[in-house]
């Protein structure tokens, strides 16, 4: 069994990371999940949260705001709308996103309110982790 897999982190603006890793913790829409080599193929959407990568070259964490991940036995690719290495992340980077989420939560219709508030809560939790 292979002990590493290919990991790609792509944002619309650039390729953030492409390396061999041992495991990746993903903030999936239905909860945290960890992808390891030979994982069954899954496509999941992401919640705002921390993407924790651990591999032979050390551990890295990224703050992501949303997107989706495609996992297959050979590796996984994360397509994040916005991803910042947690070490460089500043609260200021996220403020516009949080502000937008707040507004959306305030104006959302009844059926969408839960989703919007969930998104906002996730974002605020992420913000907490960054400071």
């Amino acid at each position: 069994m292979a002990d590493t897999m290919q990991f790609d982190l792509v944002s619309p603006e650039r390729n953030l990371a492409s390396m061999q890793v041992a495991s990746v913790q993903i903030p999936g829409a239905d909860g945290q999940m960890t992808a390891m080599p030979n994982h069954a193929p899954v496509i999941t959407t992401l919640r705002p949260g921390v993407l924790a990568v651990s591999g032979p070259e050390g551990d890295v964490s990224y703050a992501v705001t949303g997107g989706f991940a495609e996992i297959n036995p050979e590796g996984l690719s994360v397509l994040a709308e916005k991803a910042i290495p947690l070490a460089d992340a500043k609260a200021a980077d996220l403020e516009p996103v949080v502000a937008a989420a707040k507004e959306a939560a305030a104006t959302a219709s009844a059926e969408n309110r839960d989703m919007a508030e969930l998104l906002l809560a996730d974002l605020e939790e992420l913000l907490q982790k960054m400071v």
Partner: protein
């Protein structure tokens, strides 16, 4: 015959024009490189995104349960044309070509009895669309303050489009931009983004995507991804447009520089001739003056 002083001034002014166009050409070349890099950097995301979305869309199909963004409202009465142009001029036929395509499209739709709404991105396109379609303009996105195009810009436009779609303001949205082929060739392109059409990935990739587990379920992922898909397509179009604009400007300024060079040569020849004529004249005057004595 223009006098020597005038000619000299003309030459000096054309020379400074040439300096300006030359500088603009070099600036455009540098910006083009950056724009191309940005377009290249976004490609992996776009490709993967479309592959995943294509697989999903193919499995959901255009059945009644499919999201509106995919199957459309079932109508095509109201069309929204998103015309993307540059904020600055002096880039040859770049803006005109996009606007021409958009106008043709609009006229065709109007002739078919459909209503047309126009959203412009970039000042130059707005000015040109205003002439014929002032009453059809619904909104304008100003990017003149934006130094480097980011995904956020595309997302803002997409959010606006989606909000209008949900409000039932239009049935079909098409974006107009220029696809970057090379420095000398940019192709004005029309791309329908709502309802979107995604090609299913070819060959075994299509088979593989059917095996994926989906978390949450397929429909929810699709509902989550389709709006992002609109943003991704707009972002890709904006980047292509940026590269095209700089490419068009580069070749336009290259032409201008060359024309200025030719003009300087012609003017210099004329200047030398007139100077020669003046000298000859003076000589004749002196000689005839001496002979008269």
């Amino acid at each position: 015959m223009p006098n020597l002083k005038d000619l000299k001034n003309r030459i000096a002014s054309v020379k400074s024009t040439r300096k300006i166009t030359k500088a603009m050409q070099m600036v455009a070349a540098a910006k083009l490189r950056r724009a191309q890099e940005a377009a290249e950097a976004s490609r992996p995301y776009t490709e993967r995104f479309n592959a995943v979305l294509g697989g999903l869309a193919a499995s959901v199909g255009t059945s009644d349960g499919a999201p509106l963004l995919l199957r459309g409202t079932g109508d095509d009465k109201v069309h929204l044309l998103v015309v993307m142009t540059s904020e600055r001029g002096l880039c040859g036929g770049f803006n005109t070509n996009i606007v021409k395509l958009a106008k043709q499209h609009a006229q065709k739709l109007l002739a078919e009895g459909k209503s047309v709404k126009i959203l412009t991105v970039g000042k130059k396109g707005r000015e040109q669309m205003k002439r014929d379609f002032q009453s059809n303009l619904v909104a304008h996105v100003d990017l003149s303050e934006v130094k480097t195009l980011g995904y956020d810009n595309a997302k803002d436009i997409a959010t606006d489009l989606l909000a209008r779609f949900e409000a039932g303001e239009y049935d079909v949205a098409t974006i107009f931009y220029s696809a970057f082929q090379s420095v000398i060739s940019q192709i004005p392109t029309a791309l329908q983004v709502i309802p979107a059409s995604y090609d299913a990935p070819e060959g075994d990739a299509g088979g593989a995507s059917a095996d994926y587990d989906y978390e949450p379920d397929q429909d929810q992922i699709l509902a989550d991804l389709l709006p992002r898909g609109v943003a991704t397509q707009i972002f890709a179009a904006l980047l292509e447009n940026g590269a095209s604009e700089q490419g068009a400007r580069m070749s336009a300024m290259d032409n201008a520089t060359r024309n200025a060079g030719d003009m300087i040569d012609d003017l210099t020849v004329e200047f030398n001739r007139s100077r020669q004529a003046v000298i000859t004249n003076e000589l004749i005057e002196i000689i005839s003056g001496a002979e008269a004595l």
